[in-house]
């Protein structure tokens, strides 16, 4: 998946093999590897049936969809639903001169939460992995690892139940904050606190799990590199920067780009479980807005589909841009 531009012997060999293959054609390769291709078949069918076929469903974003008429018979309305999201709608009419305040609010919150999640949630597992890597006692290391990744397996509903109990006036968080002289308040009623609660609880829940992939990358580093570095007089800290980090840079960059692909999406479930009237202004994100529009404020499936599609398009832009930049700067890219 990762294409490095460095030319070495291996790629030369690969190039020659590719040239050879080209000459003999695809059919020859197919007959040679037909069992390998055959084994790929279930995966290909899975993607066709469950990922590509349902994509035609986005068509309802351009229709006034009705269940009984289906996709084939519902009326086409073009971009109406996307305009309705971006511009203020007064009743059933769209006022193109005013931007929809909900649009500004939900997109703004989504971007800010994603960005905070990226800044805080992305480097943390790398740091944890680096620290774990330095632990010599394997028993202690295993205990720390297990403790940090267990929260990943707790369901969001339970996590949110815990958060809302802990955030109460008489809850755990206020007890701790009380030691530092803060007055007791229900933290989930404070609009300015919502994003921090969201991002920090996400960090707590995912840090251990996300560090696993880095630990795997770290274990692949040739130990002789460290020996050489220490003979050259590099201390522990120096070794991290000159040996460890460069070795896992491809992993970091790849994960970073993939993360950019979900830059403008904040999952609805956790926000839905935690927000309330008081924190709507800082907590309402695109996905919760879509949820309310399709299930709570009526059954407007077309509208929600159009917003979801809009969301995905923005995400693809981020992904493509991130990939292009990384190809230039870090010489590593997804494609």
């Amino acid at each position: 998946m990762i294409a490095t531009k460095q030319k070495n012997d291996k790629t030369v060999v690969n190039d020659r093999a590719r040239a050879l293959r080209k000459k003999d054609g695809f059919s020859r390769e197919f007959s040679k590897y037909k069992w390998v291709y055959f084994m790929a078949l279930p995966g290909i069918i899975y993607y066709l049936v469950f990922c590509y076929a349902p994509m035609f469903g986005v068509l309802i974003g351009f229709q006034d969809f009705k269940y009984a008429s289906g996709i084939t018979n519902s009326d086409w309305v073009g971009l109406k639903h996307i305009f309705k999201f971006i511009f203020q709608s007064k009743g059933t009419a769209i006022n193109y001169s005013v931007i929809n305040p909900d649009f500004v609010r939900t997109v703004g919150n989504t971007v800010v939460i994603s960005f905070m999640n990226l800044i805080i949630g992305f480097p943390a597992p790398i740091i944890l992995a680096l620290l774990l890597n330095e632990i010599k006692s394997s028993g202690y290391k295993r205990v720390v690892q297990t403790i940090t990744y267990i929260p990943h397996f707790i369901s969001t509903v339970i996590i949110c139940g815990m958060i809302s109990r802990f955030s109460m006036k008489a809850g755990l968080f206020n007890a701790v904050l009380g030691w530092f002289g803060f007055p007791a308040e229900n933290l989930l009623l404070k609009p300015e606190a919502f994003k921090w609660i969201y991002v920090l609880s996400d960090l707590w829940q995912q840090i251990g799990w996300n560090s696993i992939i880095y630990l795997a990358a770290l274990s692949g580093i040739d130990p002789t590199l460290y020996e050489a570095a220490s003979i050259d007089g590099a201390g522990k800290f120096r070794q991290v920067f000159t040996v460890t980090l460069p070795a896992i840079i491809p992993t970091i960059v790849t994960l970073f780009i993939m993360r950019l692909g979900s830059m403008i999406s904040v999952g609805s479930d956790k926000v839905l479980l935690l927000y309330n009237d008081m924190t709507m202004e800082t907590a309402d994100v695109i996905s919760t807005y879509v949820y309310r529009k399709s299930f709570y404020e009526g059954t407007n499936y077309s509208y929600s589909t159009a917003i979801g599609l809009f969301n995905s398009l923005v995400n693809i832009c981020f992904l493509t841009a991130g990939n292009a930049i990384s190809r230039k700067v870090a010489e590593t890219s997804l494609w």
Binding site: G91, N186, L188, E297, T299
Partner: protein
């Protein structure tokens, strides 16, 4: 080699065919006297895995001579299941569903989409249903479409006197302890709550009382009634108005803000679910709330038994001034609900059986069966009066009244269609004297804020579904913020303007048209 290929292809083809067969080959046979009826939740679902297993329903099948197979979706996925069934084009002979809000365009939409059958000119085949509608003209007006079509079988309440099941409740023992009278006005409520806050009625020596418990969908919103307004749409002097847009509503919000500021309402209410409020009401922390007679008062009375003297009673709907009008701010005892109803679908082959079956639900025998269950098992007749058996009121297996009753009858729920019997409902729901009294206390008040459901056209419904949600979401948000004081009440006009921006005038106009049309009938 060749043979192996052929075998491979044959196996693949076989698998493909069999999987296809699994998808589409499920055509129901339409033998006479066998019908299918799709229905979501039903009373007794915790006890019986199929509505058809209820003894009273089996008696009905015997009486009509029709075998009906009830089809239930897996719980919690009703809507998905319903939508898939409709989209597949293969649905049951009858369907009970919330058509009004969970189907685009409501009943009329379903009729235009060719899913349900028009019953308007079939009334000669529905003698019992026709009679009920003729006897209750308000019901008839409510459930017919704007152009007079009859599309569904509704649940009818002929007697609503015992159905007031929501209202303010207060700890009588706390009132007595502090030497206070039962509050009847907003000012008296203020005094009482203030005394709860400062007078240490739970007697633990600490001022830890939270006078009024509330949740994120706050019950105290119904105090609006005292100010002569209510939440949402109602009629004022023949004009349809919206609560939030009225000056009375601003006065109400101002008062609630005052209560909140002085700590009379739980300061955390906007973040709380029912669990916390329930706990406060039954553990000597809170002394008042708005709630339901069963899930609220019934639960608290049972849970509060450990507290000596615990006595929770209904408080009357308050008025603004002594002797002033006390309005009932909610439509808790509507004569019928048009949201959900039973329909006969266009897929039904045996229409005569379906008419006979659906119509039978409106006979006197069916009403007794569905509300009271089986004589000798769930009820007995003493001196001409029906009484619940010991099996229901004091179940040997520790089941609640509702659970035990659910084995025999569908007393508490209007699904599917039937006539609700108030006496049976009261007998099952009101297990304590406080609850019985509550249904009488809350039934008193001015009913002019209450609305009937005015029939809407499919087009009006589609428009409302676009506007209404956005309005209520915004309104709820600013209401909570103004009560909690993070949004100054001086901005009230600004929020009214924003609601206008979001199309509240169009929404009110739609309801006005519907109301005028309803009154002209």
């Amino acid at each position: 080699m060749k043979l192996r290929k052929i075998i491979c292809v044959a196996i693949v083809a076989l698998l493909a065919v069999s999987s296809l067969a699994g998808c589409g080959g499920d055509k129901k046979q339409q033998a006479t006297g066998h019908l299918t009826y799709w229905m979501g939740n039903y009373a007794g679902a915790s006890e019986l895995d199929n509505y058809g297993k209820m003894e009273s329903v089996q008696k009905i099948h015997e009486a009509v001579g029709v075998e009906v197979e009830y089809v239930h979706p897996s719980s919690a996925a009703w809507e998905e299941n319903f939508n898939i069934m409709i989209a597949s084009g293969d649905y049951t002979d009858m369907i009970y569903w919330n058509w009004a809000s969970k189907y685009t365009g409501g009943y009329e939409g379903a009729l235009n989409d060719g899913i349900i059958l028009d019953l308007t000119d079939k009334t000669d085949k529905l003698p019992n249903y026709s009679k009920i509608l003729a006897d209750n003209p308000d019901v008839d007006k409510t459930i017919r479409t704007t152009d007079g079509k009859l599309l569904f079988f509704a649940t009818v309440k002929e007697d609503t006197s015992l159905n007031s099941c929501y209202g303010p409740m207060i700890r009588k023992d706390w009132l007595d302890k502090l030497g206070l009278e039962m509050p009847t006005t907003i000012d008296e409520w203020y005094t009482v709550l203030k005394a709860f806050k400062t007078g240490d009625p739970n007697g633990n020596g600490k001022a830890d009382e939270i006078p009024m418990a509330a949740t994120k969908s706050p019950g105290f919103k119904n105090f609006a009634g005292a100010f002569g307004t209510r939440n949402g749409i109602y009629v004022k002097n023949g004009k349809v108005v919206y609560g939030f847009m009225q000056p009375e509503y601003k006065a109400f919000v101002t008062e609630m803000n005052k209560w909140y500021k002085e700590g009379l309402i739980d300061s955390e209410f906007a973040a709380l679910d029912k669990t916390t409020a329930d706990a406060y009401m039954s553990n000597d922390t809170s002394g008042a709330c708005m709630g339901w007679v069963g899930s609220g008062m019934g639960t608290y009375l049972a849970a509060g038994q450990s507290i000596p003297g615990y006595n929770l009673v209904a408080a009357p709907w308050p008025s603004l001034e002594k002797g002033g009008k006390a309005y009932i701010p909610q439509d808790f005892d509507r004569i019928t609900s048009t949201d959900s109803g039973g329909v006969i679908t266009t897929k039904c082959q045996d229409l005569d059986s379906a008419f006979k079956y659906m119509d039978y639900f409106y006979t006197e025998e069916a009403t007794v069966l569905l509300n009271w269950g089986i004589e000798g098992k769930s009820y007995v007749v003493e001196n001409g009066e029906k009484k619940l058996t010991d099996f229901v009121t004091n179940n040997p297996d520790g089941k609640s009244r509702n659970q035990a009753m659910g084995l025999y009858a569908n007393t508490s729920s209007g699904a599917p269609q039937k006539i609700m019997a108030a006496d049976a409902f009261a007998a099952v729901q009101y297990g304590t004297p406080q609850q019985k009294e509550a249904s009488i206390v809350w039934n008193e008040g001015d009913r002019s804020l209450m609305t009937l459901e005015w029939p809407l056209t499919a087009d009006e419904k589609a428009k409302l579904s676009e506007i209404e949600g956005a309005i209520t979401t915004y309104e709820n948000e600013v209401f909570t913020k103004m009560v909690m004081g993070t949004e100054p009440i001086s901005n009230y006009g600004k929020h009214m303007a924003e609601l206008r921006n979001r199309g509240i005038d169009e929404m009110i106009a739609i309801y006005q048209t519907a109301y005028d049309r309803f009154m002209a009938k």
